[in-house]
Subunit: 162 residues, 2 copies
DNA sequence: GAGAGACTACTCGGATACAGTCTGTCCGAGTAAATCCGG
DNA sequence: CCGGATTTACTCGGACAGACTGTATCCGAGTAGTCTCTC
């Protein structure tokens, strides 16, 4: 059970888009080139973000993507769920129903106890992802990265922003 | 990203094995019949548990499986990791290294900030699974299930235990 | 009745098959900016 | 010089292919009880 690499790509792309000047757009081509990724396939990840309403897109030349909301308002969970889907990581197939001892008219009072534990863990995971925003990520990067690299990157992006 | 159904099967099997009288074994066949699962494939899940040292096995007739430790000592995480593996759910491919602005001699001081967040969430998930034991599960079931069904199940198991 | 050998029921591991998902590529349709061309 | 037509650069969506993983089945080898047969 490993998250698809599209999740990683989407997160990195959102980090870049967060540093984009207000109202400008950055193309898939630029994002793919920046991260060294296949442009066509990366666009699938960005489409997922677009469908989820996390990014806004414009067609035509100088088109591309920008964040649809403030980075303060965009959590890791939003992005992970946009790409990976919102379904829980554990699905209960109700195999307890096959217990040969169970009377035919037996009605379940609660979800399977095993599923409840697994879902609790899933919720803890999501809660953790919900607690970190892209703005938080930006602040961490600003603190840790060399000033020069940060500035060069911002300039690189702005050069290509439409 | 969905856990394999073998995880669900392994958890249910451990719950049953926890109710087995001391020193007795229960065969794959019985476990498969009880849960309505394909015997051959279920045995793969049990082999995973065996390799991880969570269950003990005996060959020959009246052979089968029993827990290798006390249910108090057996956590959900143990079982999930035995089947699903211990690798983290997020792998960082260091795509930040492709940043065209980065100087060639740049050395990373810390793991990728995005990966750290994802790993933190992964750890929260594992921590939650680590906090629940099979004994806890047994107590929950004893509290919630009808007394008759519980007793019938125990009898059914004991009938087939070798 | 006792002991040796055959038998049986089970685990274990490997081989195989099939389906679904992930990764990656390609192409056509639609759109908006930039460019070109005729007046 | 200006306005409409064309070109260009991009997104979007679908189709497609290959690799990998998850699900499932089958079979042979090995093991430990049980049964049988002989003395």
């Amino acid at each position: 059970m490993i998250l698809k690499s599209q999740v990683e790509w989407a997160l990195h792309c959102c980090a870049i888009l967060a540093g984009l000047p207000e109202g400008r757009y950055l193309s898939t081509k630029a994002l793919a080139e920046f991260h060294g990724l296949p442009k066509e396939y990366l666009s699938k990840a960005l489409q997922s973000l677009s469908q989820a309403g996390l990014v806004h897109t414009t067609l035509g030349p100088s088109g591309g993507y920008r964040l649809a909301r403030s980075p303060e308002d965009l959590t890791f969970l939003d992005i992970v769920e946009a790409v990976e889907g919102k379904t829980r990581t554990f699905v209960c197939n109700e195999i307890r129903a096959n217990n040969p001892c169970r009377p035919k008219d037996h009605r379940e009072s609660a979800p399977c106890a095993i599923a409840r534990v697994m879902w609790g863990a899933d919720e803890a995971w999501r809660q953790k992802l919900r607690s970190v925003t892209i703005a938080d990520l930006g602040r961490t990067l600003a603190r840790e990265l060399p000033q020069a690299l940060l500035q060069d990157t911002i300039d690189w992006v702005e050069d290509r922003a439409g």
